[in-house]
Symmetry: C2
Subunit: 207 residues, 2 copies
């Protein structure tokens, strides 16, 4: 099985490395996907939104058919939704992909590739209203949401929760538990300051 992670300039680091870590634990220690690949258009080093420089494993040209594809968000998505080569790559891979996932504003790349039509989906809280402008997308304010084989997560760190849910669904609850323990992902529930009470904060915070 091949699990691909799309990379582009100004992708948000944690959007893809959170899931990368979780899927990597699964793949290396608990019989998850053997091949995990970071893929960029030309295969050259990519500068991410917070200044991290990453070397992809392959380009669009030499990327094998993917069983899973994850698309991160970040400021770079504003530009990439208009990059026809990237959007076509996503469209083409999606035809054979078992599951397609986005984190944060990566949802807008799924939208550009026509993959959110008549789907429930989410994105970073700051971009929910922007996603609501597409009348055929049903926007939900959840930590993540699955609709068929399309999974979308809320902002940045939500990709970690998404990745564990994917493992629970495809492998089992027990395998997801082992990966969670290996990554010691038992986060603090602490909410700092008044920010989570601000009007834009996502609705799932009040559940």
């Amino acid at each position: 099985m091949n699990f691909g992670f799309l990379l582009f300039p100004d992708a948000e680091e944690l959007d893809f490395i959170g899931p990368w870590e979780i899927i990597g634990m699964w793949g290396m220690h608990f019989n998850g996907p053997e091949k995990r690949l970071l893929i960029s258009q030309d295969g050259a080093a990519v500068q991410c939104a917070k200044g991290l420089s990453v070397n992809p494993h392959c380009s669009f040209m030499d990327c094998p058919p993917l069983d899973f594809l994850l698309i991160p968000g970040g400021q770079g998505t504003r530009k990439e939704v208009n990059n026809q080569v990237l959007v076509d790559f996503v469209k083409q891979q999606a035809t054979a992909c078992k599951q397609i996932l986005s984190v944060c504003t990566g949802a807008f790349i799924l939208q550009a590739a026509g993959l959110l039509a008549h789907k429930r989906a989410t994105t970073h809280w700051g971009s929910l209203d922007r996603l609501r402008k597409y009348p055929d997308v049903t926007v939900v304010e959840e930590r993540f949401v699955r609709d068929g084989n399309i999974w979308t997560a809320a902002g940045v760190s939500a990709g970690i929760d998404l990745a564990l849910a994917l493992i629970a669904s495809l492998a089992s609850e027990e395998v997801a538990g082992k990966v969670q323990l290996a990554a010691e992902y038992y986060p603090s529930s602490r909410r700092y300051g008044y920010a989570p009470l601000s009007p834009g904060a996502p609705a799932y915070l009040n559940k």
Copy 2:
């Protein structure tokens, strides 16, 4: 202010990129440290534990004096605790650092540099017993612990909680809240399977 992140072969990706994202949000949007640097011994690309290849910003030779230094864990720490050049780099930077942090088994590099003597500290749950072998370290099973200017976190994902606590301490609760909202770090509290009930699981899970 310079915030350095130590890199070495087989460092665990999320150990340093979790904090990298949080400290990056702080630095770029909320008046946190202006300069955030990934530092490796020779400055060349580093292959991480789950297969990510990262290009550091500088080598030990051209690294400026750091105000903050974070040391990730990962399988690579087993080798690096015996790398005198790396241990000396940590020791030398630590003399002027305001705060020194480790995530996961990065604690063993702090130990090798003499920075955990007579301190309370923690590490990945799977390495707690190994850390207990140093009689001058008081091992605690918390998500993270601060003792003076030494901060240590539990495994892998715990570095995100550590980074937010650092910001709350150095800036304010409100600034930490704004960073938390920007990164949408309101994780699910879901615990999968029976893994968290296993005997090795860290004591803070039962609080």
